[in-house]
């Protein structure tokens, strides 16, 4: 790609990102307008006194016209103020900054472990397609996929924390305080999340690999006298990983919102848990700010993944698809 077209490309993508972000912001804001009664009503709940409601409404400026409020909210958000918790007064932005590393650590570790599980098993199953090895691996993946995420987590807790007592069931230790403790507390959550994603990666890799191995250039490679190992790793793996990598990219995007279930189950102070707590406590300002952050980050990450995708597949780089 020439420099000029590269810049144009980036410019186009950024413009699209901003447009989608704006729309996501609007949706988030107006979604909460759907709450019955006013926002203040919802936050304080049914048994709130009318005076308190009125006071909160005045504080939040709920008497101003909707569009004006949206503008104000958006302007604040762009400056980094995503509102604050009604209950603790803590600014949402600060809470995000504190909790984002936890969610990201979980996401990265889980992707790594998931790949570590899926790659060798997927390659083996694809290489030995149709044999009993393949059936066992595929069957295992299929069964694991049927286990809901939270059930998987509970099972792991049951086995490793309760019966074997090897690992803590819940709780989080920051890396800066105690690296070993941090990793220990992350083992079960990471394993749970990895086991959720690995079967999907495995199946994609396996089926793509099996079909790549049927292609002519693989026979050509065999005719050249290359060993099976060389063929698998140097010829077959790269073209077969696209589906798997695409889904990985999508998952990374999804996990920006924190792995809500895992974080709740293992009491990890991440973004997902913050969201759930906000919803349960009816802290709607927090929820609003968080959803905005999550959706914008989601869209941004998706676009970044698209861009990386183009780098990996040389055919896409030149605009052709065969």
């Amino acid at each position: 790609m020439t420099a000029a077209s590269f810049i144009r490309n980036i410019g186009r993508r950024t413009a699209r990102l901003l447009a989608v972000a704006l729309v996501a912001a609007a949706t988030t804001f107006f979604l909460f307008e759907l709450l019955p009664g006013s926002l203040a009503d919802a936050i304080l709940g049914e048994d709130a006194r009318p005076e308190d409601i009125a006071k909160l409404e005045a504080e939040l400026g709920l008497d101003r016209p909707v569009v004006e409020r949206f503008g104000g909210w958006l302007w604040q958000a762009v400056q980094g103020d995503l509102g604050q918790s009604h209950i603790t007064g803590e600014p949402v932005a600060r809470a995000i900054v504190e909790r984002l590393p936890v969610s990201i650590e979980l996401m990265l570790l889980a992707q790594l472990v998931g790949l570590a599980i899926a790659l060798p098993l997927g390659i083996w199953a694809g290489y030995r397609e149709g044999t009993s090895v393949d059936r066992a691996i595929s069957g295992g993946a299929f069964a694991t996929l049927a286990i809901p995420h939270f059930v998987l987590g509970i099972l792991l807790i049951l086995v490793f924390a309760i019966w074997l007592r090897w690992l803590p069931a819940t709780g989080f230790v920051p890396f800066s305080t105690d690296p070993i403790g941090n990793l220990r507390s992350m083992v079960l959550p990471t394993l749970t999340l990895a086991l959720v994603e690995a079967p999907i990666y495995l199946r994609l890799l396996r089926s793509d690999l099996a079909s790549t191995l049927r292609e002519e250039f693989i026979t050509v490679a065999r005719a050249k006298g290359l060993s099976d190992r060389q063929i698998l790793l140097q010829h077959a793996l790269r073209p077969s990983s696209f589906s798997m990598l695409t889904v990985m990219g999508i998952n990374i995007g999804h996990l920006i919102g924190g792995a809500v279930i895992i974080e709740t189950l293992f009491a990890l102070p991440g973004i997902g848990r913050l969201l759930i707590e906000g919803i349960i406590k009816r802290d709607y300002l927090v929820v609003q700010g968080l959803v905005l952050f999550i959706s914008v980050a989601f869209v941004a990450v998706n676009m970044a993944v698209d861009a990386v995708y183009a780098l990996i597949d040389p055919r896409l780089r030149h605009g052709r698809t065969h």
Binding site: F217, A223, L226, H235, R315
Partner: protein
């Protein structure tokens, strides 16, 4: 058979290949015997489904696991390839016997550069370093007539034209200076104008390196111009084999003559319909006690339908299978 003073380089004897399927055992090759000496070219001609590609792949041991292969021997330079396992075949593949496949679009890995695919065989078989292999790759590209080889090395297959790609495939095949080159329909997927160039290239390389070559094609016209001996295949059997000139002048098997008749010629009157062999090639399950071409043969008689024609050998090493050969 063309007689060199030395023993033939490749000697395939009584090769049969079957594939078990739900409908029975599919007979892909039946009692096939071919041989060729160093530096000579054997053409294998037949319609699609005749088994010519299977023959090529069997020699290199590239058939799927479920294939049932039986033979007296498949001798290559004295060694019986049929007895060699996968690990023992690997040093031979690409190094001593190389293959050029039909479709250059699908023969190359789309996500790796031309250079890396060229270098790979040399690094594996000759143990040279990456740098040396790259230098040789450049030389190879020049020899096969690829323009701007320095640029091509870094490019990906989809950036080259079909003819260019096939040249690269040929370069890959001769990289380790094989003793035998098997070219399976090397020009079928190419433009007519490029076909002649590629065939000439193959011929030139063969002479330079004193390679034996098996040229597989469905086009008898192509075989006519570039081979020393031709074996005609039908439904998994060799139905006639003779030195090229003899085959063209005095074919014995009606199928061969029909093939000859279907080649368009410049000295034919204009607007004459090309003669076509009626019917389509069949797949044979198990073994049949009849001539496999009988259904489509104009010269068939009763015996053709009830008894498998024996192999007739006439002097000069010609063979044919027919109850009613054409007598010159």
């Amino acid at each position: 058979m063309k007689h060199d003073e030395e023993a033939p380089l490749l000697d395939v004897s009584e090769l049969s290949v079957r594939f078990p399927t739900a409908g029975g055992d599919l007979s892909a090759l039946d009692d096939v015997s071919v041989a060729l000496g160093r530096g000579t070219t054997l053409g294998i001609v037949g319609e699609s489904g005749s088994g010519k590609s299977i023959l090529a792949r069997t020699i290199l041991g590239l058939l799927p696991r479920k294939a049932r292969i039986t033979s007296r021997h498949i001798n290559f330079a004295g060694e019986n390839l049929a007895t060699l396992g996968s690990a023992a075949m690997r040093p031979i593949r690409g190094r001593r016997i190389a293959m050029v496949f039909q479709d250059p679009m699908t023969s190359l890995n789309p996500v790796r550069t031309i250079g890396s695919q060229l270098a790979e065989g040399m690094i594996t078989h000759l143990g040279v370093s990456r740098a040396v292999a790259n230098r040789r790759a450049l030389d190879l590209l020049k020899r096969v007539g690829v323009t701007a080889p320095e640029r091509r090395i870094e490019q990906y297959p989809h950036e080259l034209s079909g003819g260019m790609r096939q040249r690269v495939v040929i370069a890959m095949a001769i990289a380790c200076e094989p003793e035998l080159l098997i070219a399976d329909e090397p020009t079928t997927a190419l433009d007519v104008t490029v076909q002649a160039e590629v065939l000439a290239l193959l011929r030139g390389l063969q002479q330079e390196q004193h390679m034996a070559m098996i040229l597989i094609t469905h086009d008898l016209g192509v075989a006519a111009g570039y081979t020393d001996e031709i074996a005609v295949m039908y439904a998994g059997q060799i139905v006639e084999r003779a030195p090229t000139r003899d085959l063209l002048r005095t074919p014995r098997m009606p199928y061969t003559q029909a093939l000859l008749g279907s080649i368009p010629r410049l000295d034919m009157p204009a607007h004459v319909r090309l003669s076509v062999i009626p019917g389509r090639p069949t797949t044979i399950y198990g073994d049949v006690e009849q001539c496999r071409f009988a259904q489509r043969c104009e010269l068939r008689t009763e015996i053709c339908l009830h008894k498998k024609p024996a192999l007739s050998v006439i002097d000069g090493g010609r063979i044919y299978r027919c109850w009613n050969p054409i007598v010159p």
